[in-house]
Symmetry: D2
Subunit: 441 residues, 4 copies
């Protein structure tokens, strides 16, 4: 039974708080793809196929041909930043992409100029941008962002808007009564409560405008009861948090494999070296704390010590991030995994990932924007757990533990799409292939 999914007609505006390395890499890439210079490598929505029916039917359409996604040529980008650089300038400074590739899309990038950002240095000490909305209360900031969204939508003749947080990681905060209900939150806005972080103001404003909201960083943003309540009320889709790239991507690939084989894990040491602005922000312990919590949680869930105390009861997990300028955006991770097998014998796995932070994040950001737009058109609102495939710290229904195993996340994503389009869910049982063999004898 196929769900009702509205077509992706007209333009889709993607508005991004934080036009830094990830966002500019995304924008430059989409521009390059639209001009035929480049391919959307790493984008599941654009390049992956989905199996339908039995293995022997050989039906494997591209996902973008299977579900009605917005087309890349229908996307209009915009955003906010604490620096006034246009996207060409920002991309050049980020030094992720080769100069000759930026030149190919220079005109497209130069015309995207950031709107002034909502910023509060109390939440990100190591940044000092000046291109910010100054002198406004929290409520006034929320209003200003809503106005920005309305204007952008109108000026660019957009049919729909998605807001996608690509800003820096804000400092660690725990739950607070002001985030516990929509009423409390709106009261706090009115009282200009400075405990409200900028990223929540963007989330609030987006939802009030009916725009789905995705959070690519580990700070709470839309992951508090107040914002979830608003999403339900406004019937808008949300998803978060923290793009899953690099080391944690690797971890949620490898850990399920070890767990699948009932191999014990005694220790997992993860270190990172990176030299981009993200590295600089995370050099502040308060901001690193936010990231650390996000990065640590994945193993606890995948290697569930409560269910398997003999295997994971003594797991020691440590994550470190080191600011190391020589590498720039070329983040590198090194993992040492201490495992044990049959009769307790010890073994070790070392993984050295020479990755590129923004190159891995850009297609993730793209897919999240396109899929949340799809969800919205399919009438799926509130938390979109099926997008947890892309996220380090997936937002779930209250009381429901998140699923971090990337392969379960993938099946969830694929079966959600199949379900949406009325196709059979895949269970990989496949006993029928062999029944046929017997029958044919």
């Amino acid at each position: 039974m196929k769900q009702q999914v509205n077509e992706a007609k007209g333009k889709l505006g993607i508005l991004i708080p934080g036009l830094g390395a990830v966002a500019t890499t995304l924008i430059a890439g989409v521009a390059g793809i639209n001009k035929g210079y480049s391919k959307p490598i790493g984008s599941v929505s654009q390049l992956s196929r989905i199996r339908l029916g039995k293995r022997t039917e050989d039906r494997n359409p591209l996902i973008k041909d299977f579900v009605p996604l917005a087309k890349l040529e229908d996307i209009v980008f915009g955003g906010w930043d604490v620096y006034a650089d246009n996207v060409f300038e920002a991309a050049s400074k980020a030094r992720v992409l080769e100069p000759y590739q930026l030149e190919q899309v220079r005109a497209e990038l130069e015309q995207i100029k950031p709107m002034k950002a909502v910023f509060d240095r109390n939440f990100v000490k190591n940044l000092d941008g000046q291109h910010i909305k100054e002198g406004l209360t929290r409520r006034a900031l929320a209003d200003a962002v809503q106005a920005d969204i309305q204007n952008f939508k109108k000026e660019n003749n957009c049919d729909r808007i998605v807001v996608l947080w690509c800003g820096s990681t804000e400092k660690y905060i725990e739950g607070n009564a002001i985030f516990d209900s929509l009423k409390n939150f709106e009261d706090a806005l009115d009282q200009n409560d400075l405990r409200i972080p900028p990223s929540m103001i963007y989330a609030y404003a987006a939802l009030k405008q009916g725009a789905p909201y995705v959070n690519g960083a580990p700070n709470l943003s839309c992951d508090v009861p107040a914002i979830v309540e608003l999403a339900q009320l406004m019937q808008v889709a949300i998803a978060g948090k923290d793009f899953k790239t690099g080391q944690t991507l690797m971890k949620t690939i490898v850990a399920p494999g070890l767990q699948a084989r009932a191999l014990g894990v005694e220790g997992w040491f993860s270190t990172n070296i990176l030299g981009n602005r993200d590295g600089l922000v995370l050099d502040d312990p308060e901001n690193f704390k936010t990231k650390e919590v996000s990065k640590l949680s994945v193993l606890e869930e995948i290697l569930d010590a409560k269910k398997n105390p003999e295997l994971y009861g003594n797991l020691y997990h440590k994550v470190r991030i080191n600011y190391y300028p020589p590498h720039g955006d070329n983040k590198e991770s090194w993992d040492n995994i201490d495992i044990f097998g049959w009769m307790g014998y010890k073994m070790q796995i070392k993984i050295n990932f020479l990755c590129r932070d923004s190159i891995l994040a850009a297609p993730v950001a793209l897919d999240l924007a396109l899929f949340i737009d799809l969800a919205q058109r399919a009438g799926m609102f509130g938390i979109q757990e099926w997008l947890s495939f892309y996220l380090k710290s997936p937002q779930t229904a209250p009381g429901l533990p998140p699923e971090h195993d990337i392969f379960k996340q993938l099946i969830k994503l694929q079966n959600t799409l199949r379900h949406m389009m009325g196709e059979d869910l895949i269970t990989h049982l496949g006993l029928d292939y062999y029944q046929e063999l017997v029958d044919s004898m």
Copy 2:
């Protein structure tokens, strides 16, 4: 609807051609576990839990409590080898386990003495054992192995027998008309056709005796039409081939993760160093060829170049095994993976796995024996593709491409068990959790 599964009453004889490092590690481990010295780490059948029903139901029994497996204390081990050493002596020479652990089960191991092996040095040049059935035709060898099985079953008062090939990798052979039908094969046996490798004689003898057969090495053994036909005819279960451990295990964990994310792979270089008897055998190019074919195939299937030419069309995959005595059984692999992402930017992953060959293989061998015994009791005969989770080169129905992605293999295994016991298959869709949320508003 639950399948009819006969109970696991009485003793299960596990007969092993090749009482080398893997087999003796398995036997010593089971003896140690039965005496309370050790735990079956790495054995999914013994230690893993299986989720039943919804995530929120929290039903996660151990697999061994969910399906009626033979108990470890009901297993009796026996086997054949080209060396006359008893299992204690063979385990000591294999130098996999610490001497003090072997002492703990010395009596149990010493009483297991190998029967004379079927051996033909044309298939394994680098071995020179003398404990072999000499001067017999192929047909007479098959008869002798059948007699061995009957005797063992009777002497040890076994209810059921499983035969598990843990012998060395035989040299590479391609298909041949004599393997193409049961009739041809039996004619060849009668004509003492020396192209029949020893491992096929064991497979033939096992099936004729109604004993399920598992092949842990990459040589063909039961993976030819003649033997499959015999399995169907005798209604006996078979599975193969090549225990999936070490580097290939890692490869079928990591490659699905890259594929899931639509990351391109340009090159994958895999090298191994090991110094055990397996390493010595594989130092002969003819035997390495058999292993190489098995190890190479996994990437071709997971990273399907035909479906994704932009991502995998230029993949260069190379696998090397190097005999390196200083490491003994402590096999070590090093992989260099050249990937590319958004806009074609290149990244690299290096994986260094300091593993232990037999420690990884022993629980795999155990699980295969227990699960194929279960399948047999559940009336599932012929090729057991659901056991492909454990195998580098899974045997499948004719014309059906094997599935190498370990996570799909895992779901197949788990859903087969659920199906067997009449439980709902898991699809990871989970939209209902969120529907409840909406309903509750």
Copy 3:
């Protein structure tokens, strides 16, 4: 011209403040070697040969046969510790050596019981031992240690004593006027100035007793003007500081190689994981600071940015130590080195050293004790820079920059020995071999 070197007659007492992992490994090893169970691998004094004369003379005696060293069987060990465990108990808890090896020398180790330590928790927060000299002023502590040394020497009938600091790294302190002259230091002792760290009290007491002193940790200890002055005055040899093992050993091997080839170095990131008591102590930032300064300095000197600004002017060097209990004493380091070559092209070197902290340190400690005893008998007093081969942060004459290149340090050590015994110094010029060729034509 051979120097006058007194013979090594009678017993040599080696007294060690800090009977932890390194010291107990040293003591157990020497006991094992003396009983014929083990070999002094890693000890240059015991196993290395020294070339004498021309390459073609083929004169390469063992160093221990070339210079008159104390014999291993003439060593008597003793020491102080904050825990009351005897050396067998301490070695067992350190879990460096296999239990069966400790059993072989159990009697020898059990009879060595620590004297009460000089300890001040202000200098090492993460330790909490109670086996300490309590309620004494700094001066009284110095007197007590001198009495300990006298008693030990008498009771054990020693001809000579060497004191070897193997205690934990004390917290970072910079120079202070009280350390600037012997007079100031003795005044501070008299005034019970609590800024005097325990390790200086040991150094002071040793020198007052005419016993050479070696510092194996990075804290200052004997590396202040006051103690140097005392060493000159008493005509006693001193050396320090910080045993060069593991990552820094590797660094002072590899960096000279890069520098030799005029390869540029842009970044060097070093991280360590270890889980022994040393790791616990260094988990305190104040103590890590002491270690960090010691570990960082080596590159600055070897890759001299002032002399080669194009090659090393932008070097970013970062060192991290992480407490990681799963590894115990099996310290592991991972280095990423960003180098550049011809025309500025970038390359990377990754070094992963799976080492064992105490196994590397024990022979270094042994050699330092034996060589400083030799120096003392050769009439060489004050700072023994020729022992810098063994030290991360070598003590040198005031104003003289230390030499960190391990190969220059080696030549210095070897040429010092040759000089001592009146042999020609080696310059590796060797043009004469070719002159002979010409002459013979």
Copy 4:
């Protein structure tokens, strides 16, 4: 006493058999440096300083300011190749340097066109170039190369010529009577003996023309008695063989460090992946054999098992090279080193070098050319062992074992330069610094 060294007046012609990746990278680099675009990173002759006198004198001139080397702007390049591409085309195909850098020196490179090569496919199966001197006997080829040298020298108005073999590795050959004396060799030339490999013809021709000859590959070339005899007779300098770069460079850095510390080595496994023409040539076992012998020898000498059987008596050393096109010229090596220390405890070192073959080789080639020209002007003829610093398999006087330790090679090189210029040789003894301290008391 300073040696007599003639000034480097006029132009130096560097003639290169084999204008492939290394040679074109060298030529492009020198052109770029002369135009101010680039720096000679990796060139000791250009960038390294040499210490003169005592440490405290602080005399550290650049080597190029200390000894009278030819200037980079006085070099004229030429050469021979089996392909007719000019140096710009060849460099472009080699894909070592970025296109924009080649454009900067396009004119300079385009004007260098290879002369036809001496080539015999029996010595290099995997190459198929057609730009060769055809139909000539061995003697006629030698005459033709001599004529080439004369013409080049005249046309380019060179004062001096150096010939530098940068061609592919020829297949393995062992000694033969025809190489044993100059007479035999010349007889063989006259008889057109096809066992004479092309590289020897170049060596012969160069020496006959009075041009020093350097061999950058592992084939014998000038390393046979016949050619050494000719070098003595003609009073010309020679050096070889095999540029020391990448993995072997690393090995001769690390092995001396382990040996210095008396650490045992039980196994050393080295593998390489590379995808350039060199990789293709070495994919042929006969050519790999030549390289293997060169690469294996270094450990045998540095870790001298005869002198230290307890430490190196069981060393298992294995070297592998794998052709792996995805990496092109970006050769990557991975080493696993199994060491053991105090009481026999095992440790491991893994080194992963992501290097660039030609980037490392180019400055080595440059230095060898400049230094052998210097030697010639200093009247040093025959084998120049002091250049072994740059070579995997250094040529030495008959009966004299080569020195592979790069640090001894470095001292040899530096002390040779000091000797040449009448400076004191450095011994690193340095006791005088401390004597002063005593004297000053």
